[in-house]
């Protein structure tokens, strides 16, 4: 899955519900119903509490797993682009660094939501300027939202999130209107309540760009050929936002450089380093080599198996990202026998030794999954899914009545994912577990992209390894978007899992306008899933990062919403 891993947010809906028609509260905490979307003491790009002797200046070199794809936040859907842009661009709201559960005001200082969940009023921060010197105001917000809503058909293939979050484009978009009530207030009216609306506004793809820069870069929806939208292609004047860093240059395939924005509106959060250079380093070994040789300051992602090497080098540090925001599962397609038999699925769940996988492949930075979403996720609850018990697995197989226990099992051959650091090794370990209880595994492998994803989506696989890294830590993002939501009103070809009650429950939960109803519905959805066990959740992990020991005050996040303005170099 290449979609953004922008951030995790547990109580977005709580915020919306709590804020409905209420006055602002000074607390930004979102986990309590008393919290509201309101004035808060922190900005969108806050730093950790600075250490006593912060040193200013220097260049921070960050190794990313790959290059960015475009320089227009609305036209990206990959984590590398997002990782860079979240330091340059800001939206109305943001996630607190290091947290997967707290939302912060960003360009909107506070907001209110109508009791019917349809009207959102955002009060905007005053005195903010874009990096090109133009004013940030309500007109700029309206311009951006209307642009996203009205992307021409030719560009819609590159704007996944605008279509996915707002339910389509133009007349089919869930946004009814976006209006500047005055220079400091924007009103967004939805056609139907959408409880993930607020959290979605924290995604980097919904960062506000300078309208002047958008027009100059042909990103005003008049140019329909994406290759000529220079705002998206790294041309001069691309990536013009309001963030603590400014875009400097993108040498395709080689590096992206951003530089300190000394005029950042929050004077307490001006970056300590002068520049950040992002280098795409695809080879995991070379990220570690670069760290050891002192050429790389921070490797955004390292393989768990490299942790021992990093820990053995006193010049380096491992960065633990804390809360997980991903799930790896044994995906299953219900059109195949014996997978369609629930007892067989339960037997598989009981046959797999999750802790052994964690010890062997995740360097301990993971926990066995007991849900289809990490338990820190909004509305997630422990489900008591089957745990490792080979004897129980054998009994379930016997009870299933199935005689042909042959299963075609797939894994991707040429990729690692944050939730799946060693697909082949994990595949082999699981296969051994399954064969130990009597299954006959027929191994298959395909290249990750496009073959593997194409074929699993088309329903060609019986059982396969796949997972999901969150866009936000909401039940809807895991249960509906990632896994079991219907496609065009029908069960997805991917899982062929038909459960109309689950589908209706999830849709009702997404449209709920009070927290209790939403909570009840999402918990019911989880109960339905527990009964059917349509797939087998395996592991929730946090992908590790590593840095030089002199890199200080970096705040890691399980959702990778990591802001580099807090970082300084102690050298």
């Amino acid at each position: 899955m290449v979609r953004l891993r922008i951030g995790a947010f547990v109580a977005a809906t709580a915020i919306m519900f709590a804020a409905c028609g209420t006055a602002a509260s000074p607390s930004p905490a979102a986990t309590s119903p008393a919290a509201s979307g309101s004035t808060a003491p922190e900005s969108s790009a806050p730093s950790a509490e600075p250490s006593a002797a912060v040193k200013e200046g220097g260049t921070l070199v960050v190794a990313l797993p790959g290059d960015i794809t475009r320089t227009d936040p609305a036209m990206i859907d990959d984590s590398n682009s997002s990782y860079v842009m979240q330091n340059v661009m800001e939206g109305l709201l943001a996630l607190k660094p290091g947290s997967t559960s707290e939302i912060l005001p960003a360009l909107a200082e506070k907001w209110t939501v109508s009791p019917d969940g349809l009207t959102y009023d955002f009060n905007l921060r005053q005195g903010v300027k874009f990096h090109d010197g133009t004013d940030f105001n309500a007109d700029a917000v309206v311009y951006n939202y209307n642009r996203w809503k009205n992307f021409p058909k030719e560009l819609q293939d590159y704007t996944y999130y605008a279509g996915a979050v707002f339910g389509g484009y133009g007349a089919t978009s869930n946004i009814a209107s976006v209006t500047a009530k005055d220079p400091a207030t924007v009103e967004i009216v939805l056609k139907k309540a959408q409880s993930n609306f607020l959290i979605a506004q924290t995604l980097t793809v919904f960062a506000i760009s300078s309208p002047t820069a958008l027009k100059a870069g042909k990103a005003d929806n008049t140019e329909k050929d994406v290759s000529k939208v220079t705002y998206a292609q790294g041309g001069t004047g691309a990536m013009v936002g309001t963030g603590p860093f400014k875009f400097k240059e993108w040498v395709v395939g080689d590096h992206v450089t951003i530089e300190k924005n000394a005029d950042y509106w929050d004077k307490t959060k001006i970056p300590h380093v002068d520049d950040v250079v992002f280098k795409p380093v695809a080879e995991e070994a070379q990220r570690v080599n670069g760290l050891q040789a002192g050429e790389i300051d921070l490797a955004q992602t390292i393989a768990p198996l490299d942790i021992a090497t990093i820990k053995g080098d006193t010049k380096l540090q491992v960065i633990d990202r804390g809360e997980s925001c991903n799930t790896m599962q044994l995906s299953m397609n219900h059109k195949y026998t014996p997978i369609k038999n629930v007892k067989i699925r339960q037997a598989i769940a009981a046959a797999v030794n999750r802790q052994a996988l964690i010890d062997a492949f995740y360097a301990g930075l993971a926990t066995p999954a007991d849900n289809w979403m990490p338990l820190g996720t909004q509305y997630a609850k422990p489900l008591g899914l089957p745990t490792y018990d080979p004897a129980a697995a054998k009994q379930l197989i016997a009870d299933s009545g199935e005689t042909d226990l042959s299963i075609d099992f797939y894994y991707p051959s040429d990729v690692t994912r944050p939730y799946m650091p060693d697909p082949k090794g994990i595949f082999e370990a699981i296969s051994r577990d399954l064969e130990a209880v009597g299954f006959k595994i027929v191994p298959h492998t395909e290249t990750w992209r496009p073959d593997y994803l194409d074929h699993e989506y088309a329903g060609n696989f019986e059982m396969w390894l796949l997972g999901w890294t969150c866009d936000w830590a909401g039940a809807d993002n895991f249960l509906k978007t990632a896994f079991f939501g219907y496609v065009d009103g029908k069960p997805s070809t991917e899982f062929a899992y038909k459960n109309d009650e689950l589908e209706k429950t999830m849709n009702d939960a997404l449209a709920a306008t009070d927290e209790n109803t939403a909570k009840t519905l999402w918990e019911h959805a989880q109960d339905l899933l527990k009964t059917d066990l349509p797939t087998v959740p395996l592991i929730n992990s946090t992908p590790p990062a590593a840095a030089q020991a002199y890199v200080k005050d970096f705040v890691g996040s399980g959702g990778l919403n990591e802001y580099l303005n807090s970082v300084w170099l102690d050298k």
Partner: protein, 334 residues
């Protein structure tokens, strides 16, 4: 000679046509669809269908091929399916990096390989000859990426003598004009960065040059030994010519031909080897670009770059053939 060159150039046209067809068929017969690569895991079938239509992938293959040929004839190599940038301009940006690397590797292979070959020939059947043979076998046998990673570990990570990857210190600021780092650093008046660029070039060039070096050393040795046993060499020595003159005028002048042929052929091998070397050393050249493009089923990038590589290979072969005439007056083309 001019007629010969024109004939060779004309002869390249059907070769390129054939190659374009084979490439097109090869790339399109690969399983998978770039639409899914672009749109990701949860794209709807409608979105995939719309993108296929936008990219022209819904057309029959022969229509796509004819359209592609038409584009080629207009000098249009298409655009990357993934980021929509024109293949030719992207190629032009990255190619200097690949040239710099392959040239450095070739220079290394020639400067070390030929003397090694001559040394082995002069001391044929001795321990020196045996040592060169072993070295050659090792050079040929070890895959470039393995050699690259071993070099990085020893010379960069452990000894800190050389950098692990890239073309320049990422903290350095340089006005890139030609994208040849060695040239740009000089144009920018930065001898310090020139040295830095040179240091970045050393390990990848040695890794990439290891196989050609081994081959060149072997061929040089064999060729020198062949010529050494010729009558005219014996005659030259019998006439009392100094050994150095015998070596330069009688042996090497005649031993060059197969060596030059092999050097020419190595250019193709180097371009192929650059694919792996650039990936290992995070070298932002065409090779690394092609690897990514194959993974993404980025049809136009794969087709375009391989075609351009083929053109270069044909051109190099032509230059090598002309080089024969220069080196050996007995060869005349008509």
């Amino acid at each position: 000679m001019l007629k010969y060159i024109v004939r060779r150039l004309l002869g390249a046209i059907p070769v390129l046509f054939g190659l374009s067809f084979v490439l097109f068929a090869f790339v399109h017969l690969l399983p998978g669809d770039p639409s899914r690569a672009i749109l990701g895991q949860h794209a709807t079938p409608e979105a995939v269908a719309r993108l296929r239509e936008n990219l022209g992938l819904d057309q029959p293959l022969y229509v796509q091929y004819v359209t592609y040929l038409g584009q080629l004839l207009r000098g249009d190599f298409g655009a990357s399916i993934i980021n929509n940038r024109p293949v030719l301009s992207e190629f032009a940006i990255r190619f200097p990096a690949t040239i710099e690397l392959t040239l450095a590797a070739l220079i290394f292979a020639v400067l070390v390989g030929i003397p090694l070959g001559r040394l082995a020939a002069r001391h044929a059947q001795s321990w020196i000859d045996g040592g060169v043979t072993v070295l050659s076998l090792v050079g040929i046998s070890i895959p470039v990426f393995v050699l690259g990673l071993v070099f990085v570990h020893i010379f960069a990570v452990q000894l800190h003598w050389l950098p692990t990857q890239g073309r320049l210190d990422p903290r350095a600021s340089l006005d890139v004009r030609t994208n040849f780092m060695l040239v740009d650093t000089l144009l920018d008046g930065r001898p310090d960065l020139f040295v830095d660029a040179l240091r970045h070039l050393v390990l990848p060039a040695i890794a990439l040059g290891s196989i050609p070096l081994a081959i060149i050393a072997r061929i040089t040795r064999a060729s020198v030994l062949d010529v050494t046993n010729e009558d005219y060499v014996r005659t030259a020595r019998a006439k009392g010519l100094r050994e150095r003159r015998v070596n330069d005028r009688h042996i090497m002048r005649n031993a060059w031909l197969p060596v030059v042929t092999v050097i020419g052929l190595q250019v193709g091998g180097l371009l192929g080897g650059a694919v792996l070397t650039e990936t290992v050393f995070t070298w932002n050249g065409v090779g690394r670009w092609v690897v990514d493009a194959i993974g993404n089923r980025d049809y136009f990038v794969v087709q375009g770059t391989v075609l351009i590589f083929a053109l270069i290979f044909l051109a190099v072969n032509l230059v090598v053939d002309i080089g024969y005439a220069f080196l050996n007056p007995r060869i005349r083309y008509s």
